[in-house]
Symmetry: C2
Subunit: 331 residues, 2 copies
């Protein structure tokens, strides 16, 4: 039994409540069939394009859900969030919608598109080191000195429930299509998305499988599963999938993974640019490397599916310059 098995998991009702909160505020992204991937994989393949979500990534779901549950007093003190980029944009957007201020602590290595996106939404960006720990330390320092309110990036039940709404949409759309046994490939960073999505999928369509996909250079979930508890990996992972470079999965997110994630697979960095280009050329969708990692798992044969597959595309926050650099190898 795992050490924290007494943790209360997020329930499907929590996710349904989050979906009601997000109704008319977040985009309900479609479940699109990918015929080009189907030809390669030999099974029906669907895409859940969260780059079409507000803010360009799934992160708005969790951030808005969390911020909506704060008291007025907590909100007007100002929101503070540590973020590799997408969570920051999501918090800046939620703050804007609630008419309050947001301060986002980003790594000095954050892609320009993510910094610009946050600032465009009125967020104040502060840079702090390159690691999750450095960002969190700086965020706590700001919260202390300015009396702000933390919006945690992933290890929180309201964040997990919000991210789970994307999984609920997948499960509902899959049911409407008559899918029963199918597999969902989902990104693993700190674990908020994979925790929420797996909870929704397993509760609504229990025969479906959920497969976590992490970058080979940042295998925090597979290491945690080996150890039976979250472990901290190499302190400064590098890689193209900048949204998935957490050094440790969350305590609460890990419990959800133990309950609901069937398998974890790893994708090499060199397999990411071809997947970004495939989505661009064949599906007319801009994915950031983290967002394309599930498609990379299929294209690079890391996963050979035997049932229909859903690839979650977690975000597309890469602008023209970054995309050009990525696809021409000049970055």
């Amino acid at each position: 039994m795992s050490p924290s098995a007494n943790t209360t998991l997020v329930s499907i009702d929590d996710i349904r409540r989050a979906a009601a909160t997000l109704h008319g505020v977040a985009e309900r992204t479609p479940l699109m069939r990918s015929y080009p991937l189907e030809e390669l994989a030999g099974v029906p393949v669907y895409l859940k394009p969260e780059m079409l979500q507000r803010g360009g990534a799934f992160k708005f779901r969790g951030a808005y859900n969390f911020v909506s549950r704060l008291t007025h007093d907590e909100r007007i003190r100002g929101l503070v969030a540590p973020s590799s980029g997408n969570h920051g944009q999501a918090v800046a957007l939620a703050a804007k919608l609630f008419g309050v201020k947001a301060t986002i602590v980003m790594p000095t290595t954050a892609p320009r598109a993510k910094v610009a996106g946050t600032e465009r939404l009125g967020g104040r960006v502060i840079f702090a080191g390159t690691t999750t720990a450095e960002r969190m330390d700086k965020a706590m320092e700001i919260i202390e000195s300015e009396n702000g309110t933390l919006v945690p990036p992933y290890d929180d039940p309201l964040i997990i429930a919000g991210q789970g709404t994307g999984g609920l949409e997948i499960a509902e759309d899959a049911k409407a299509l008559g899918l029963d046994e199918y597999a969902v490939l989902v990104q693993v960073g700190g674990g908020g998305l994979s925790a929420g999505v797996s909870t929704a999928i397993k509760n609504v369509t229990p025969r479906a499988k959920v497969i976590g996909v992490e970058p080979a250079g940042s295998p925090k979930l597979s290491r945690a599963r080996e150890a039976g508890a979250p472990v901290t990996i190499a302190s400064n992972p590098k890689g193209l999938a900048d949204g998935l470079l957490a050094v440790r999965v969350g305590t609460l997110t890990f419990e959800h993974h133990q309950a609901y994630v069937d398998e974890v697979i790893a994708v090499e960095d060199s397999d990411l640019p071809p997947a970004v280009r495939f989505l661009l050329d064949r599906h007319k969708l801009v994915a950031e490397p983290s967002g394309a990692i599930t498609v990379a798992a299929l294209l690079a044969n890391v996963m050979r599916p035997t049932t229909p597959v859903v690839c979650l595309l977690s975000g597309g926050n890469i602008e023209w310059d970054g995309l050009a650099a990525l696809l021409t190898g000049k970055q």
Copy 2:
């Protein structure tokens, strides 16, 4: 009274029948709210992203609808289609789904992405000149010598009804959102899309306005409206919006425009690349210049809306190399 006022217009029932034919075959693309455009335009703006349609453009709707109504005998003789690119890909895809052959006659100037897309789908590509007339002549020659069956690009009731299904989806989704008075911006090439979409919009939501958008260098609809009948403009229009360079609107499509299109506006070529980039950076969608022309009309203030607006994005058939050339000015 116009010379061909006795033409039978496509009805909303024809469009509903086409929608039933396309159900489960074509993608039902979402109506997405564009908050970034809304901030600039001051009214709610929605996008209908037909680059997410099968084949990367709206054209599959009409082509599949037409091919589905052919007899088995007509189909197995092989399909022949003149096309600037997107219709060709759509016909090649429809032929593949029905297990028959397709020959596509394209201009020598067709973008590589459109040629490659057609060939990838098993279509045979034959090049003929640069004008609509040259392509049609060559197509008729092939039909005669090989006993093939023409799939017309736009001036046909089944094609118009098929393209109209995109308009039906817009009108249904607009109604569900409570929109009543709104404007739809739609591309005008040969007129199949704008004819079908305007028919659906006006029949389902009569208070909505439909505004045709054509490239300033190829003003075939505004000239036809001045003349009261289709006229042939300069024989070889050039421009970035390669899908909209027809030299004359169709006879049947023109009748639909006279009945249902409220206004026609023109967009300069120089306004197209910024719109392509805006959709890429802010909406994570790849649009070809023709597909982005409706957004260009808003960004360049050619149209200053006073009601909610829907911008149809007709297609995204530009691959990485073409996109790079367009956005870096090196083409």
